[in-house]
């Protein structure tokens, strides 16, 4: 019993948590920015999938994982641009548009797997992946427990941490941050001050596209070496939950993503330790239950942006 526990709660548990939470963290920051500008974004699952696919495709074509990363970002942003066009310019209800984008993403990736490689399932492998660029921060990297988890990591893990800190700073101290906050709280006020609400909302969606693109790239060309169909497996939605549970705050997003990742990592280790031999499904269901609990428990305190999910037009000529 004791040594079984000792076997579960190891430094590796923390590393696994980071690996599992990285894509969710990135996507949830994207969701946060997007919703702060007033656009509800449930299309992240699809955007992430597109990112993963194009990262693998470009990476394989060029042989460089870094170009692959750019490809993933480009794919994610291009796809999110489509979403922005639908939600902001065409005034389609945001949740609806998001649902459509997800359908589209699955169709696209599967179709182009066939067109590009004439195979389904797994795309051809990259010779080098971003994992080959694992980098240990001097000094910090050699810290006991958190060292390997936070400071001896692969590029995109660092990017996710940077994204969290950067956005915490941007929202608190910069013109951009102020614009983002205002547009989601009182769009009309923002517009009457001579700034364009649609423009900032496009920015928000594109930012989520960028971050989800990176998240997708993590899945395909950092954590593994090729794209497999449906490899996001619901992470986009978990990210949405993480954003809500995190109260639309960068740090909150990170913490809740981290928590979900931790639950998952723990679950895997408890299973393999053979500590409890109950149906494995009981473990597998835990992250979902945890998410529900988190949403139910934490959402009370946090307040969503007043105008999130609401369409914006100046002259209500529709009515």
């Amino acid at each position: 019993m004791m040594q079984a526990l000792a076997m579960i709660f190891t430094p590796q548990l923390l590393e696994a948590t980071i690996r599992l939470s990285t894509p969710v963290t990135l996507a949830s920051i994207g969701a946060m920015v997007c919703e702060r500008t007033g656009v509800t974004n449930i299309a992240m699952e699809g955007i992430m999938l597109m990112g993963a696919f194009f990262a693998a495709a470009v990476g394989y074509a060029t042989g460089s994982p870094w170009l692959g990363l750019l490809g993933g970002i480009a794919g994610g942003m291009a796809f999110s641009l489509l979403f922005a066009w639908a939600a902001v310019t065409l005034h389609i209800n945001h949740v609806v548009a998001g649902a459509i984008m997800n359908i589209l993403a699955f169709g696209f990736t599967r179709y182009f797997m066939n067109v590009f490689y004439h195979i389904q399932g797994t795309s051809p492998a990259l010779p080098v992946t971003l994992h080959n660029y694992k980098y240990a921060v001097p000094l910090l990297g050699s810290l006991p427990v958190i060292g390997p988890a936070f400071f001896n990591q692969t590029p995109i893990v660092y990017m996710s941490l940077v994204a969290v800190i950067a956005w915490a700073w941007i929202l608190a101290r910069t013109r951009l941050g102020l614009s983002v906050l205002a547009a989601g709280e009182h769009p009309m006020a923002y517009e009457t001050l001579g700034r364009s609400v649609p423009r900032i909302r496009y920015f928000g969606v594109l930012m989520s596209g960028l971050l989800c693109g990176i998240a997708g790239s993590f899945l395909s060309i950092e954590n593994s070496n090729s794209f497999t169909e449906g490899m996001t497996d619901g992470r986009g939605f978990i990210a949405l939950a993480a954003n809500i549970a995190g109260g639309w705050r960068p740090l909150g997003c990170f913490l809740s993503s981290f928590f979900f990742g931790f639950v998952d990592a723990l679950q895997l280790r408890v299973q393999s330790s053979g500590l409890l031999r109950i149906p494995s499904e009981i473990f597998l269901v835990f992250p979902y239950v945890a998410t529900i609990a988190a949403v139910a428990g934490l959402v009370r305190g946090s307040r969503p942006p007043a105008a999130v999910g609401k369409d914006f037009t100046i002259e209500g000529e529709g009515d």
Partner: protein, 344 residues
């Protein structure tokens, strides 16, 4: 409505004609289950068999991926109507549908992969199933030896005497693999610690990777994947953590040559190929269930490829002996964890 209908029919007639353009070689077709091609499992396995036969000039090939379970019947009978001489239905979920299709198209042979039919079987239908546990058993023997007794033979081994397995969903074929794997390992190394994780999905590669890293962190130096696409993550983990992986269903060595020790082969490829061969020889016999196992040499483990030199003779002999004993029935390989006294 009506006009659109007429139009559609007109067009359809035209193109069905164009499709009917017959070639000399017999048409052999398959319909996948809803997982489609690229499942890294039996769909790909059977498809490989068809490709091989095609390469050898035995037939021309056509494949359809089912989108929903409702598609099975139209796909199966449709392929027959397209003039296929032999139609493979892959996946246990179309077990009734294929029997219906067989009754409806007596001039076409149907072969159901992972099917075992009870009662009276149509003369043009063949049920093909496998004893995955035997493949698992052989893989288990290799793993059981290498992880402890011969852990010096490779820098990838750590001698902690722990091996692991990553499962997709907890369904019977998977469990049969696992049961065989555990039994095989224990048979040559009673003290070996076999750990396994059920990921609950056949599609989440990242999760498969984390699962096997969890096992590796707990000392496992050989991890078998029984998880379809999730299993790709096991290979990722092996590549990253420098341990051995064991593939499943098809020889996965190509996916990570430096790390895939061997693969437990479920002879979907060979069995499909055999059926086609028999078809072209005119010896194909329907109305029966064929359970492929070692005896039918459709179950095996893949060659060790570049690891051939580090796998000592004792291991190879043990594998060979196990094969003989299983065939002769001296060894009865368990099919469920329950038989091993492990409760889920």
């Amino acid at each position: 409505m009506k006009r659109a209908l007429v139009l559609a029919i007109a067009i359809a007639v035209v193109l069905t004609m164009s499709v009917e353009a017959q070639s000399a070689k017999p048409l052999v077709a398959m319909t996948t289950d809803t997982n489609g091609l690229g499942d890294g499992s039996f769909n790909d396995g059977v498809y490989a068999g068809l490709k091989r036969a095609e390469a050898e000039g035995l037939c021309t090939v056509k494949v359809v991926e089912a989108h929903a379970m409702t598609d099975y019947v139209p796909n199966l009978s449709g392929l027959a109507e397209d003039g296929a001489k032999l139609v493979f239905g892959v996946g246990a979920l179309m077990i009734e549908q294929i029997q219906e299709a067989a009754k409806g198209h007596p001039n076409t042979y149907f072969a159901g992969i992972d099917h075992y039919y009870g009662g009276e079987i149509p003369p043009n239908l063949i049920g093909i199933s496998y004893r995955e546990q035997e493949a698992g058993y052989l893989a288990g023997i290799v793993a059981g030896y290498m992880t402890s007794k011969y852990s010096k033979n490779s820098p990838l081994l750590n001698g902690k005497n722990v091996i692991g397995a990553v499962l997709g969903m907890d369904i019977p074929p998977v469990e049969r693999y696992l049961a065989g794997y555990i039994a095989g390992a224990k048979s040559v190394n009673p003290t070996v610690d076999v750990r396994y994780i059920v990921t609950g999905t056949f599609a989440d590669r990242a999760k498969g990777k984390e699962a096997s890293i969890a096992l590796i962190d707990q000392g496992a130096d050989i991890v078998m994947q029984i998880a379809g696409l999730t299993g790709m993550g096991v290979l990722d983990a092996a590549r990253e953590r420098h341990v051995f992986a064991i593939g499943a269903d098809v020889d996965q060595n190509a996916a990570a040559p430096e790390y895939v020790l061997t693969s437990a082969l479920k002879g979907t490829t060979i069995s499909a190929y055999k059926a086609i061969k028999a078809l072209s020889d005119g010896t194909l016999k329907g109305g029966q269930n064929i359970v492929y196992g070692l005896a039918e040499d459709a179950i095996d483990i893949a060659p060790f490829h570049q690891f051939d030199k580090i796998v000592p003779a004792e291991v190879k002999d043990a594998v060979a002996k196990a094969k003989r004993d299983i065939i002769s029935g001296k060894i009865k390989v368990p099919v469920s964890l329950a038989e091993l006294g492990i409760k889920k």
